[in-house]
Homo-oligomer: 340 residues x 2
């Protein structure tokens, strides 16, 4: 199968290459695309260097499957033209809510792939990581309402976000130490983010609407309803950027059509595909971004009866934002296509 | 007024000294106490060095007001004996839920000070910061249920926690940089915490009970009920330690006896004592730990109608854990005592 990656030099593009190799995706040909600025660079795949090209005007990317992760603007403009020549798996937010476009987490709604018209959307990272735990619970108990607070890694803002956390943190640590043991603090100059991210956190850096919810929070609600085919599902999220490199965590309270016990919830999650329970109360070990980073599984723990509402649940999840939150999920969609 | 500080060399003890000076607390004499290991050290107050003494066996600390912040064990053993000679304002968890002991946030329940029997408890930091926003809403609308996800600074674990975040972060940054821009990662050896805190986060490091809630989460629920005199208040918290030095943040969903609109909630919070609204949607600027650090106010923002439940609210708060979460609140209790 001939594969193209648009946005090959970005954080997700690089991870796509690694995962295609890891999972022995049947790649018979590989074309790498990026902005004209990055054209001419090379990237390694199965021991060979591949030259990165500028995205052509023609719309024909010379591939059967296109993984698109070069930003919403490019995808909004070109995705359907690319789809005349290939199946496009789009990692941007451009077409996720378009009713012609399936929005797919392969563990959750693989059947949706079948109805595609050349374009399949990869959900937002925080949506994927939440639903890896909530979807099996929904199937078993009927999810009615969820409140979510996220702890999102800087990788969601790409390589620039990663670099900013690294560089700012070094500057703050180099600023000297106050008697209290804290760094004195450096005057950081945020570039990618509006606020300092080193040793700080802030409400997610997407635009805030008139209802007070930001874009990330709106995605989590709207995409969840589409993926679960649950148009009346009530979700309220607070999305927060934290000084972590590449895995998102989420604290979730969930209410169901019928009262759910802690043990039956744990039993459902224990056998949920792509989920690994990390729920060691005695050892005080639960999902952590560091443990989720570099792995495929979404870690789920802190599973407990919600003390504030009989029959409801509380839980905590963590997943690699670049892998399951983006590149891995996209490759899994590709695998589902191949399986037919 | 003769003042003693037990635990004078700790993070909270040092902040107590600074705040007593800042607020011109009427200190006619000052005695500083700590463990025998720290005895002989000195601390500065109003330009003079004071020698730190070991806690005496007698129970008489030579003071009218004792600020105790040397850990629960010492307080459990000695607090009532100290209280034979002075009014003890206890910053540990030892006596908070004892029915003989008022648990006081001066902006919330100052009247409770009047009934003291020599011992007044300072609430847990995450409780104080949550209630600075929830208490005025409770008075106006009748709080019925709250779900809380915290983002807690390492200062809650004292100077050792602060040092561990600083040192681990430096080690991770010195480990080299992967092609993705992330640090390669160092093998850290956690001492104060069970897990790496640098560029990571984890479920709060207090013991987890059979109901799945940890000690910090239990404190938040039980103390809130006592302070608000709301024995049936339903609270479920998920308490999480994040790589931030000294301010806690909390994402809160709250339900009330009567439906609450966003504007009336904002009006209540705008005039709440000790609260500063930071709720700039256009500028995407909301409460952040860095902005709360070193200040007295609890920052409140992201005030919005909860999209998942008509009449409910969502909000986000941040407050300095060492100041309002501990030392400042304790000094304010002392001021309330003086006012009578």
């Amino acid at each position: 199968m001939r594969v193209a990656i648009v946005g090959a030099t970005g954080a997700v593009g690089q991870e796509l290459l690694a995962i295609l190799e890891e999972r022995s995706f049947p790649v018979s040909g590989l074309r790498l695309y990026a902005s004209p600025r990055s054209a001419g660079r090379t990237a390694r795949f199965r021991g060979e260097e591949h030259v990165v090209e500028a995205v052509p005007e023609s719309g024909d990317l010379g591939a059967d499957v296109v993984f698109s992760s070069a930003g919403g603007a490019l995808s909004r403009e070109h995705a359907w033209r690319w789809a005349e020549h290939a199946v496009v798996i789009d990692n941007t937010s451009a077409w996720r809510m378009d009713e012609r476009v399936p929005l797919v987490i392969p563990e959750v709604n693989p059947h949706a792939v079948a109805g595609h018209r050349g374009l399949i959307a990869n959900p937002n990272c925080s949506t994927i990581i939440a639903l890896m735990a909530l979807a099996p619970l929904h199937r078993a108990f009927g999810l009615r309402r969820a409140t979510v607070a996220t702890y999102q890694a800087v990788s969601g803002a790409g390589a620039a976000g990663i670099g900013e956390l690294r560089e700012q943190s070094a500057a703050v640590l180099a600023s000297g130490t106050a008697p209290s043991g804290e760094p004195l603090g450096a005057s950081t100059t945020p570039r990618k983010f509006r606020h300092q991210i080193a040793f700080n956190l802030f409400s997610h850096d997407s635009d805030v609407g008139s209802d007070g919810y930001n874009g990330e929070e709106r995605k989590l609600a709207l995409e969840s309803r589409k993926i679960l085919d649950a148009p009346h599902l009530a979700i309220s999220a607070t999305c927060v950027r934290v000084p972590v490199f590449r895995a998102h965590s989420e604290a979730i309270h969930a209410e169901f059509e019928r009262p759910v016990g802690e043990e039956e919830a744990r039993a459902v999650l224990a056998t949920a595909p792509g989920v690994r329970l990390v729920d060691d109360r005695a050892g005080n070990t639960f999902p952590m971004p560091l443990a989720a980073s570099g792995g495929d599984a979404t870690l789920v723990g802190r599973i407990r009866a919600d003390a504030s509402l009989p029959g409801a649940l509380a839980l905590f999840v963590a997943g690699d934002q670049i892998r399951k939150g983006a590149a891995l999920n996209a490759v899994q969609i590709g695998e589902a296509l191949i399986r037919g």
